[in-house]
Symmetry: C2
Subunit: 141 residues, 2 copies
């Protein structure tokens, strides 16, 4: 009986811990939705001016609290960007490691990056306006 209680208790602790990690760590549902808008910009921006391979992108982003994504997110996205001609890939093998697939921006990828970052600025300023401004009775219609 005591044994059983102990097991259940441990299971409960595990559950709680898991929940806390999930919750505090990175993945609110809202964060996920927010990334839907920004991730394309983010990836293009990581690739600007250099060649990077898949897992390296993941590691690069790992320091940014709102940008903690996984491989299941990254690889399909890279596929899409390649299909759209915004990035290109090549397999490169240095002597001491396994072959890696390095991505870099194409010409049209660079234009897109510029376009998206302008659009992003606009969005930031729009929301800034909403967060600072209103208060009661702002809009006389």
């Amino acid at each position: 009986m005591q044994g059983m209680v102990a097991v259940d208790y441990n299971l409960a602790l595990q559950g709680i811990l898991f929940y806390m990690i999930k919750k505090s760590g990175q993945n609110n549902k809202w964060d996920v939705q927010l990334r839907k808008g920004t991730l394309e910009l983010v990836i293009l921006s990581v690739l600007r001016g250099r060649k990077v391979y898949g897992l390296e992108i993941l590691k690069s982003l790992h320091i940014l609290p709102t940008m903690q994504i996984t491989e299941g997110t990254l690889y399909p996205l890279l596929d899409r960007l390649k299909r759209e001609g915004l990035i290109a890939a090549e397999w490169i093998q240095t002597e001491d490691t396994r072959p890696r697939k390095y991505y870099h921006l194409t010409q049209s990828g660079e234009s897109k990056l510029k376009l998206l970052s302008e659009r992003w600025s606009q969005s930031v300023s729009d929301i800034k306006y909403l967060l600072n401004n209103p208060g009661p009775k702002p809009l006389d219609q």
Copy 2:
């Protein structure tokens, strides 16, 4: 024959016009995706400190270039926010108009607004870092 050519020509013009309006106006596919993250924050922020009815929200947002949404977006979202207890609604009829459904923030809506806007700031600063910083060989791993 000339008639047919004329018709096709007009159709083509219509198509082009339609395309241009769609394109230049508001709705890139990317803008739509970007809104998926921000719209909840935006609506809560519009409701902060006052009571507003549906179409009024739409009009309020109309001046912001990245926030031009339609009723098909708004009403389902208001429904969801109500279901989640973040906002509440009441029908109000002033003497000179038709009854309108006015929405306002609940207690938990206000906390959520605070939480989301903090998360938003984090995201903005993360992306700012990516857009300004990198360039070639920034990340020694």
